[in-house]
């Protein structure tokens, strides 16, 4: 791996190596820029470092101290963000979906949320690039939306949990399909195909999972990027002219400074606004890139409610990736909705610890009732949504006065559902209850409190007054400060976000190259 000196100003210092930062590091290096990418977490070697064990693998999660409040406090930790080279994609569930095209203009076309400054046709090409890069395994033809090319790898076989989803959809008269997944269905280089061991959300020990760690990061290193792991960036430094000069980071017990011509923040929707706010200085007392006052605001989780039941059949949903089948029906069908936005729902495969905690916290069981219910583990079947939640300024990340292990102020995360969020959730629970019953499951119950994924907090837009970055992920206020991760979403849609984050990172890299060639950028590569 190439390494850079701290006093050597690199073209780009990237903070975070997940879906956004890892992808961007790769693409920028391949375009010829010098890049150092920082991550607060370690650089894991899955084949040697990952055990087949839920407890042990909590080492992948961002578990630094955070305060949650609001009417519906979010669950963080395992449920939300990673701390490792590769970011949250190291333990994500690999579901790789495109946005519905109209969502990029949801304000003007659908009447809610905010418009993105991006064009869906251009995004369609970048989605293609990412699907190829990750060798997504998906169905021959996708039932919803405009035509998309064939997925590079064939779809994975269905497990019993996925068959139950299919049966429910067919009974309800809606379409379903095999979920497009970022795990190999055929060999790729030295990597074996997925062996259906089902530990995906605790990290894939076989490298079948096409996380940023095994896709973009090796490419980034081959193109000359330095990955600096176990390096927590605490503050972004500026000069008197108001331009970024580099980053202060904590590594090996001490603070260091790396000079850079450009800084990209890609720490995900909590750490990105936290760093921007923690970097406040005399010129920018409210935090960096915050002239709109929107940094930290419009945090959006996605609703993640479920209906669970048991079947007479053995299901053993622990086998295979957790979500092998999906329906996006209610993302594309607007008739019969009493809410804005959409949701998809997928089959599920919780491992024992997660399942027992769900039975305790969401179903209220403990004692002999819990022990009895857990014995039905192999018969459990469930459907879970990824639902759109609307942007609200009151849902936000702010700083508290408490400090973390690096001496940095910790974030407070405030979250409350709005009426539209609740109507969407109710609709989905009603529909999935019917669908699961039609699949011959019984003893149904609903888990109504869960959320997943995080977006917003540094939204992109076409106007500096009501957004933080422009379409190129460049901050309106500081021309050499960029944000490229889930934070920049103005709306979230009803699909998991990582494919869109990666597609935007690919586009951003191309835009940065174009800007550099036109002389509109601080960089050596094309200077």
């Amino acid at each position: 791996m190439r390494e850079y000196g701290e006093s050597e100003a690199v073209d780009f210092a990237i903070i975070g190596t997940g879906a956004g930062g890892g992808t961007l590091a790769c693409k920028l290096a391949e375009h010829g820029f010098s890049v150092v990418a920082f991550d607060a977490g370690p650089y894991f070697r899955p084949l040697e470092d990952f055990a087949s064990d839920e407890s042990e693998q909590t080492k992948l999660y961002w578990t630094d101290d955070r305060i949650v409040d609001g009417a519906n406090p979010l669950q963080m930790g395992s449920n939300n963000s990673g701390k490792a080279v590769g970011g949250s994609t190291v333990h994500f569930a690999m579901v790789s979906l495109r946005f519905r095209p109209e969502w990029f203009k949801s304000r003007s076309l659908l009447g809610y949320g905010a418009d993105w400054p991006l064009n869906w046709r251009e995004m369609w090409d970048y989605y293609r690039e990412v699907e190829q890069a990750l060798k997504i395994a998906g169905p021959v033809s996708y039932p919803w939306g405009p035509h998309r090319p064939r997925y590079p790898y064939r779809a994975h076989p269905l497990n019993a949990a996925a068959r139950a989803l299919a049966k429910g959809c067919e009974a309800m008269g809606i379409q379903w399909t095999e979920t497009p997944l970022a795990t190999l269905s055929a060999p790729r280089g030295l990597a074996h195909p997925c062996v259906y061991r089902g530990f995906c959300v605790t990290g894939c020990s076989t490298n079948a999972k096409q996380s940023a760690l095994v896709t973009w990061i090796p490419r980034a290193i081959a193109a000359g990027t330095e990955i600096r792991d176990l390096a927590m960036v605490g503050r972004i430094e500026l000069d008197n002219a108001g331009l970024v000069t580099g980053v202060h980071y904590h590594r090996d017990g001490a603070w260091h400074f790396q000079r850079a011509r450009n800084v990209v923040v890609a720490g995900y929707a909590i750490e990105t606004p936290r760093l921007l706010l923690n970097s406040a200085n005399r010129k920018f007392p409210d935090g960096l890139a915050n002239s709109s006052g929107l940094v930290g605001k419009n945090l959006m989780a996605q609703s993640n409610q479920a209906v669970w039941g048991v079947m007479d059949h053995e299901v053993r949903s622990y086998k295979g990736p957790p979500s092998l089948a999906i329906t996006e029906h209610w993302n594309y069908e607007d008739k019969g909705k009493d809410f804005f936005g959409g949701y998809s729902y997928m089959s599920q495969g919780p491992l024992p610890q997660l399942w027992a905690d769900t039975q305790m916290s969401a179903h209220g069981l403990w004692g002999s009732r819990l022990m009895a219910e857990m014995k039905n583990y192999n018969h459990v079947v469930g459907l879970k949504i990824v639902g759109e939640m609307l942007p609200q300024e009151a849902n936000r990340v702010t700083l508290t006065d408490e400090l973390d292990q690096y001496g940095l102020r910790i974030p407070r995360i405030t979250y409350s559902w709005c009426d539209n969020d609740k109507r969407l959730i109710d609709h989905s629970l009603r529909f999935m209850t019917q669908a699961l019953r039609a699949a011959d499951a019984r003893d149904l119950w609903t888990q109504d409190d869960d959320t997943c994924h995080l977006n917003g907090t540094a939204r992109m837009g076409s106007d500096a007054a009501n957004s933080v970055v422009d379409a190129d992920c460049r901050s309106w206020d500081i021309p050499n400060l960029w944000i490229c991760d889930g934070s920049i979403f103005p709306t979230v849609g009803g699909v998991n976000p990582s494919l869109t984050i990666q597609a935007i990172a690919c586009r951003t890299a191309d835009r940065i190259k174009a800007l550099a060639l036109r002389g509109e950028l601080e960089a050596h590569a094309f200077g």
Binding site: D49, A51, S52, D53, E54, S55, E56, T58, Y61, T63, D64, D65, R66, I67, V68, D69, P73, L74, M76, G77, S78, P157, L158, N159, A160, C194, V195, Y196, R197, G198, F199, S205, T206, M311, D312, H313, E314, V315, R316, Y318, K319, G320, L351, P352, Q353, A356, D357, M360, S361, G364, W366, G367, S368, L370, M371, M374, N376, Y377, N378, R412
Partner: protein, 222 residues
Amino acid sequence: MHDFRKIPAGQDRYPGYDVLAKRLGPSWNEQTRRVITRRLSIGAEPQFFTAEEFQTVTAIAARIVPQSAARPPVPVAALVDEKLFRGALDGFRLAGTPRDGDAWRLGLKALDAEARTAYGGLFHSLAEGLQDALLTRMQAGELKAPQWGSMPPKDFFEKRMARDIVLAYYAHPTAWSEIGWGGPASPRGYVRLDFDERDPWEAAEAGSGDEASVRRINRHVR
């Protein structure tokens, strides 16, 4: 397909199945063996809790995850203690709630105060029925002793106390065998994925009346 509803609640659903018998087989890699060996060798003495606190945690665990005498015991309280001693955090807490270990100490003190007020004794000394009554009221958010401070008892139950206990129990191979889970699965994963399909390295479930043959199958699961 088995009619598992006909099996009496107390009966073993996976008779003869011991997930640890797979330990040296291709479903366990070296790093997993190391992790589980470490877990199985956790000492009985607390390192984080005081002796009195540990007594209370042990009593709570016995009510949240009551264990059957038929399988080897799971040292739930010791597993919780080990996690807190390591300083492993969940990574989030409600406003007004202290960090994980401090929340535990506060909650145990408050629970004992509640026990003394309601029944005149420390929690661990109460009869099971009274312990359950207190835990039920904690879960419902009905406990109000000043010792709780700004930490809501209901949240302490759901997000800290019962959560840590349940996670500890289901981190143990005994629990995995009990519910018929395949356990660690790397490098060997699974091949048969459909309804009622079982790989030979997974536990067979007892229906009504076939216990002996199922036990024979499960003895050979490796």
